[in-house]
Symmetry: D2
Subunit: 343 residues, 4 copies
């Protein structure tokens, strides 16, 4: 089968033929139809320091995808051949105390498809049946293909109730843009998007942001205070990963409010914990992956009910063979989310 | 001043002149502009058994209202003369353990305006400053006037998160109709209204209900099961108070789901606790009043942000002097919510 | 192997030889050492109406047990041969929305060992590996054997925080007695046991109850009010299943308090929902089974740390062959919990 | 009356005569009996940078105290002359959105006694009636005198359920020592104290710590991992305020666990947010003050029920006039908590 592969320990990726994977008894084989390119894929493409420490080539990339079940192992009971599915790409142990108490998203034995094992930028991928989520007809293929990053946004925004609240989103990459839409759909009273790139702010507006703040032009902490009668935002979703973004996220949050950190800073960050966290009585939550499987069911319900349209974020569709165009568009900032069509 | 008064221990109400109330040091005098008629007012009008045990005439009726602050006591710091306000009509002790831990809505020393002390169907009402909620310009007078019953709906629906969930509302009186709108605005994926009266169902549809179920024509438990792939509704708001409504509410809720009881049954109700509550692992919550003051702030935020339009529920506007027309319209089922204009 | 069997559709049980069960690939074979007799086993013994509708003989009884893993299927990775284990006796589907969101205890496809399939009153039992909980050395065999009913008590008491609170337990069968101990160990400030049988109250005292109330002698609602400055108990655990017990449980709970219903009434119960639930703003929770697997981990931690000694509840130990003595002791009220030793 | 006073903008304190304070209508006059010296008082004594920016001499110090009500204003209804009381020293506005939604502990208009207004190191102090907590007879004067710092510990430990969990306390000053006792009393399965001073560790043991870790001798992160089967602690209470303590607190917490930050670092702290917060899915909570008034009621219930003995922390009792001995004992590390007797 055709797949996008990291052939060896050096920059670059290539589309080549690889053997179709074996099928364990408790797994299904999926004919992939659509897949999303993630920032992680760019790191692996460039073979950066993180990749060098984590990735063992040759490896099929890709962890955001959807497709159709074409074969199932003998122990699988919850899906049928022909089902349209997306899947959680974090394969967890299932029996540690974290997995057994609803915290599988931070299982210490997690293996991620497209990172720690072969992924979904391929004609076929094999997944444990536990990881599948069936997709209702009302949800388009390309929307189901990005359930992984969309799930990051749902996990972040719905960590705790946002109905009637003011939600600030700091950093409008694809997940930040999704977060704007989720907050709007979940009943936020006011959604404030903070992002330096004008075209991203424009997408944020289409996703439902009430206020657009360019931190190069306006102090975002002041902007949020003005918008909230001086209190600050009830909820802040930090999606930039930049030290300045993180510090402003803590400062723009109201006392006793909730800051959810998803963006990953490269290095340690200096934080005024006394002034910006402790004296404010903040709740800070580290967001990784998606709650298994609460987030998936929420996401499916929102999209199937039409509460949220993620189309504005999907700026590029490309056949798999032209993946490098997608990478270039992401790097230039021209693209938000790029969806690959697997032929 | 003119007021709607229960003159003595017998059926009937009349508009008459009464003295303006005294102003305690920690209270404000409000010039009332709009007030809503509640089912409770009808009980008092008819002097039913409950009224006979609770009401001590002469009494000025009315607990749903808004107006303008015209005078404040010397200890009041949080409002200004000229402020538009609505107010919580439950006056609580403020120092018992319930009041001190966020449960003032069930303070055992509660005194309700228009029931236990003079109320707001009058040109002026005096309220403790703690009970006021300032009303932003974006919220119309007649909407602010019904914050009391609207708050019942907010309290019920937002008792716990409804985003992405299926919410059933059993009984579409004014509070049930408000609840449909709140659930829709708070991101419910599907809202199912159960109500025998066709014109109420029509209002429910305008408030955002996806499914309209007439329990005289269709089994509402079956209807909800069909709408939910057999699981049942995630959240059920019981607003009818009828034994049949309550039993169906428990049955239409999914396992481990949440049933919120607001409608007041007249007598004890036979409930299959083993089959309908315990084996299902249900969460049942008794809803009284509004959370003080979380509910008020949520309500103000939703309405100021335009997330929710309650106009379809306000079917009648009448000058105070014509209150009996309003009572008749409510009793005939013609009216949902009647708003009085205080001249 | 030897087992306690329901041979046919009529009263009685017998110890006989049955074949050892087959071992699925994802399951383990356990050499049973200790098992507890449950009230459910008595229903099946007597072949009551419920049993006639649910049980399909021949059936090996028993769902409370512990033992040692003696064989594991090829797909099992989380336990080793030789491990001491107890196990959740509810075998659930694992892939419905309830199972996938932490509500497996109310999975609609639940199959219970000793009820819907062969159980643990036998030399060997086969269990899905997912259902096992390893038992640390610090926990005695006979304590691990009753993790099923002890887990009911933990699920009930730890449904929500009890630290510093007043907890009333209505009905002191084995689960009620366990609940007294769990509440005490979890930091309840005051534990009130309500139970008519004097010897049960005595065990309740040994489990840590501060107040012992015989509802035949004193009004338990009044007793709780007196003990709580008039407020009522913060948390009430209803373990009796009797209509009078349930009504008193609702009445003895303070406003905005939490009533947890575990005892199963035989028939529908008349409840004053307006006065005892709605106007009080109560939270009522139906308790079934154990949270999978939060409850198991809590229970293991409490017992391994020595926070709770359940010995006073284990009144009888008998070899499996003498199970009828245990049944008689339970029926006479002489026994609280009877533990069988499997030879 | 006699009082400990900061006379002017320079180091030092003195006991002198000052006029007794006026009594507002909604306040009470309290004859102070016992008061605790806090680290904050030492900062003011030394006139450090923080004090220079915050304190306006002359000022009566002291915010930890208990006493007897000797006079009440005409609007006070919830206490009687003669009542023994302690009091929340944070005087808040009562009408902002934070105060109205249970977050008065982070009200932006907070005025603290002994810091922003005259305090309780005096024969008499005047407090708003809302701030009082009556003290049952079962609680000793000197225990009631330290409800302020004890409340910090209760707020920290009971932020969320600790029953059956492993709780690590980093830093064993008085509040850390209290936290050890609270965790033990609230049903923690294992309590790990981390502290370099040997005599503090000894007090921690008397307060109920299972494990004593000297970070100068052992790596506390490793020690906690070993104690928890590699997972890390469920809950970490950071009471040291040191950058090393804070970083170790984040690292010793298990994935998806809860870190509560109370110790105040002097400067910004470098934190590996990606590795130590985000990828771990941590919940971090900034603790300031006490929840008003949930914490006070919990604290009163625990102490009145005898669940917790705080005596080991109260190392020194001194008459008010000898306060400087107390300050010296605190600075030498000899004292944990010093209680002053007001003559």
């Amino acid at each position: 089968m055709r797949a996008i592969v990291k052939p060896g320990p050096e920059p670059g990726l290539e589309v080549r033929d690889v053997p179709s994977p074996d099928l364990p008894q408790d797994a299904v084989r999926i004919r992939v139809r659509r897949a999303g390119i993630c920032g992680t894929d760019l790191h692996i493409y460039h073979w950066d320091r993180w990749s060098q420490g984590r990735i063992h080539p040759p490896l099929v990339l890709g962890h955001e995808f959807m497709g159709e079940v074409v074969e199932r192992g003998p122990l699988v009971g919850n899906v049928e051949v022909g089902d349209r599915v997306s899947a959680e790409g974090h394969i967890v142990c299932g029996h540690c105390e974290l997995c057994r108490t609803g915290n599988g998203h931070v299982c210490r034995e997690t293996s991620i498809i497209g990172v720690d094992r072969d992924g979904a930028f391929a004609e076929e991928v094999v997944m444990p049946a536990t990881n599948l989520i069936p997709i209702p007809d009302a949800i388009a293929d390309e929307h189901a293909a990005v359930f992984d990053p969309l799930g990051n946004a749902f996990h972040t925004v719905l960590h705790d109730d946002v109905a009637g609240k003011t939600v600030a989103v700091v950093g409008c990459g694809p997940i930040g843009l999704f977060a704007v839409g989720v907050a709007r759909a979940a009943g936020a009273a006011r959604v404030i998007a903070v992002e330096p790139a004008a075209d991203r702010l424009e997408i944020a507006e289409r996703m439902g942001a009430d206020d657009l703040v360019d931190p190069g032009a306006d102090d975002p902490v002041e902007a949020v205070r003005e918008a909230t009668g001086g209190y600050g935002a009830d909820v802040v979703c930090e999606m930039s990963g930049s030290p300045a973004g993180i510090r402003s996220a803590l400062r723009m949050c109201r006392n006793a409010g909730s800051v959810r950190l998803l963006g990953l800073p490269k290095d340690a960050v200096e934080v005024d914990l006394a002034g910006d966290v402790i004296f404010k009585g903040l709740h800070v939550y580290g967001v990784v992956g998606r709650r298994m499987y609460r987030t998936w069911i929420q996401m499916r319900n929102f999209l199937a009910a039409g509460l949220l349209d993620i189309d504005p974020v999907l700026t590029h569709r490309l056949p798999m063979e032209r993946f490098e165009e997608g990478i270039r568009a992401m790097e230039s900032g021209e693209a938000a989310k790029v969806v690959l069509e697997i032929p």
